[in-house]
Symmetry: C2
């Protein structure tokens, strides 16, 4: 298979750097082809701005969505963005690896999505009518591909547990897993999360690397998170509200969008 | 009062730009002092990297947390970061205004938090023992100040409602409101959210501006979100798990951390 890794950590001599090398080595030893976008090493441009749309007239109001749609359709996106889109199209599996900073992605990775996920590529696709509302949430250009997150967190596992103060890790990652990856068509595998990442020693690295290699051995077999397809009949169109009677009425807002067993 | 606005939109001729001008005008007409950090206009540097820590030896492993702690303690943070910290300390109220992109902040604003919220300033404060776990979640340097979000969303209100496909807006904003603002000590007011922002016309702008001015008139009176204080007795230390018997057992993970009426 072809595996594309998007990596967002500034220091190669870090737990994240070591886990990236473990991942690449394990995947290559399994015979997979691997491409890595090391965003810091590439000096990836984080913020969306006018420079991303050189064909936009200087005196024209910059509307991000419209500029993105025009540039995607006219194939005038900047080369750095096009290269990332080509890697996404090339891949069978995409891994996003990053440290959880302030409960989210580092800015450089958020900026990767803000720029690479252009209108006409990752959103604004398909028909909008009374039966379906675009190709999204289970449909889209990434259909047939798998993706998952490799995340390191500074806090303890309990802090990010069901009743932990930061909130459950699955809820914290839901807007990424569901709102960005599943949205664009990926089947999303459960994340690989490392806690207390700042207190990592050699022994912890070894045990973490063993678990990670194990996960990487089951890329084709592991069951994706069972999100509900937007256009599969579970949602009202166009309000996209889950139909009455579906989902545990006492479940949290996010988990409603995962099918019961 | 002193109001600090952190603004993250690339186009002044946008709904966001117009709402910013409305906010500044309304606040000044009420007699408040206002400072604005217009991150795009300032060409704010989004990503945390080694350049943020010029005193770090070039051959030394870059550990973000440690480098941040050293630079904050030694007062060697870069000038752009120090200026933002000074504005935070100056303010009585802080407003963060941004478009919701991929259910989160634009990268440039995430990078503002990643860089300005340094160790020893926004985290890593206070004592860690069996009674308390740092000055966080209701304590910290921002104690006594208020903050809230002004957010524009492209989707319909229903998409971000309790059973809407993207998840409830309060859950989507929880990691920011609770995990970043309340964490650092702010009392957090309910957000001001504009839906279908890309389909805004003059009439919609006028009605939105009226609602926003209304909210800005009650900055001192509006009741903050009733998050539970970390060190107030509701959580086990150091696991920070909500104590048994507290919170509606059928509530979502995030809403557990808000006190019942």
């Amino acid at each position: 298979m072809k595996v594309f890794i998007v990596f967002a950590h500034p220091e190669p001599q870090s737990l994240n750097g070591a886990l990236l090398r473990t991942t690449v080595e394990e995947l290559e030893s399994q015979g997979h082809e691997v491409q890595v976008s090391d965003l810091y090493a590439m000096k990836w441009k984080s913020q969306v701005d006018r420079e991303d749309f050189p064909h936009l007239a200087p005196d024209k109001r910059f509307r991000v969505e419209y500029a993105s749609a025009e540039a995607t359709a006219a194939d005038t996106l900047t080369d750095d963005v096009k290269r990332e889109q080509e890697k996404l199209l090339w891949a069978d599996v995409v891994i996003f690896q990053f440290p959880l900073w302030w409960l989210g992605m580092p800015a450089i990775l958020k900026g990767w999505f803000d720029r690479v996920y252009s209108y006409g590529f990752a959103y604004g696709l398909g028909e909008y009518n009374d039966k379906r509302w675009g190709d999204r949430y289970g449909e889209g250009k990434m259909l047939g591909k798998r993706a998952f997150l490799v995340v390191t967190a500074g806090g303890r596992k309990e802090h990010l547990s069901a009743r932990g103060i930061a909130g459950p890790i699955d809820d914290i990652l839901f807007p990424i897993n569901h709102g960005m990856l599943y949205y664009s068509g990926f089947a999303v595998l459960p994340p690989f999360v490392v806690y207390l990442a700042n207190r990592s020693d050699d022994e912890k690295f070894r045990s973490t690397a063993i678990e990670l290699r194990q996960k990487l051995k089951s890329l084709s077999d592991e069951r994706p998170i069972a999100y509900r397809r937007q256009n599969g009949g579970d949602y009202e169109i166009p309000t996209l509200v889950l139909k009455a009677g579906l989902g545990n009425s006492s479940a949290s807002g996010f988990s409603l969008h995962i099918m019961e067993e």
